[in-house]
Amino acid sequence: MHALLRTADAVLRRGARSTAPEASPPTLPRLLLCVLAFGGFYGVVMGLYRTLNGQPDGALQALYSASKTPLLILGSFVIGLPVFFVLSTLLGLRRDFGRSVRALISAQAATAIALAALAPVTLLFYLSTADYQQALLFNGVCFAVASCAGQAVLRGHFRPLIARNPRHRGLLVGWAIAYLFVAVQLAWLLRPFIGSGLRVTVFRPEAWDNAYVVVVRLVWSLFTGD
């Protein structure tokens, strides 16, 4: 536990050692452990909504949410990684690939750590209101804030790389597009994270659907009034 907190501290302070070739800890397994532990912790808190509102099977929902949150963070990262590899090669940045990936994983860890830090606030929010829509919105805001923290860590790690070769900026933009594109759909698939209603389910019955299609049609119907 102490080692995990030390790793989290090192990630957030984004010392130069994180991107140095002879990097001492935080090492890759520790960073991944950060994502699993802190992401899982936030998942548990997120899933407590049912318990705090007197709905059945709260513990089961908390368990599902605890496994889904790290899966969301790491899944988006893994699916986008091949594109990142080819882009970095094509842009002539392969020499820095190891460092770039370390920076990306540090950013995933930072996102999970920021989420865990927001967990008490989420708990307080749950205690203040029972409204499901508000809980949903609040968790959305928490994920957005945590993503900004991850982005800040990523930028910090990439600053020296960009200074050495400005093409890293374009690589970061490409990565951000691919990562976000996948993350939105993955989050949509992994619903419910909070859970409401009588039964707890791993996925929604209509899980195999597309987030973008739903949004596009929603926007279209707003304009056309259909």
Binding site: I79, V86, G92, P160, R164, D209, Y212
Partner: protein, 287 residues
Amino acid sequence: MNERLRRTTRYLHDRLLDLDRLLRGEATRPDAVGGKRLEVSARGMAAIAVLLAMFYGACMGSFSLLKSVPESLDDPYGPFLQVLASTIKTPALFLLTLVVTLPSLYVSNALIGSRLTLLGMTRLLTASIAVNLAVLASLGTIVLFFSLTTNSYPFILLLNVAAFSVAGVLGLMFLLQTLHRVLSPDEAASTEPPAAIDDADALPESDEEAPEPAAIDMPAGQMLGRHTKLVFRCWLVLFSLVGAQMGWVLRPFIGNPELAFSFFRPKESNFFAAVFGALGKLLLGGG
């Protein structure tokens, strides 16, 4: 038998390293193409391109899997056949486009007065296709993820069009820069490297020489020559038109879940009408 397998594996491994050199820009640096030719094997690049295209084809065809089909459709093996068909058709799309356009490209190339030989041109084109397919295959994981988790046929159609477009643009950038380096090796070789960036936050290595231009970068201080522009435009128009038509002839690549599997579709409509139709369906529903 084992010996043959070992030799094949070794051959593919070496060709993959060639592709890696291409992607890194090492095989297309001015000093590497100073001899007015690209030092990669056209056959080897074609072999790697086929494998990458097969991978992407399988990702594209996977949309047919895990989908609920209308009860009236008695086609139990359709989804698997679609994956197999897409795996075969994607490399065919690229190789047939190359075969169909190569004679015209060579003639236009010779008429313009370019010094590229037929072999040099074939190498350059297969290398560009391999780069294009490397990007496409890297997008394969994203396409596979969406294919397996999405029911909307128009969305997947447009996603694949977007993936092909991104890969195509990067492949063309590689082709343009390599053409420039091959057709004007003298100016390219004499280019001064760009000045190093002076930044307090820079890494310790930043006092080394400035970064080499990437495979898709224009070396600093250079401009495209008249020949390069003309050759590239001719190739671009020919390749795009034939490629789009070839894709249309070889469809379906994804497979509409509401239709039974067929290796080819009847002659109808065209590529652009299909893309606009998919956009309409996405907005108005029914997909």
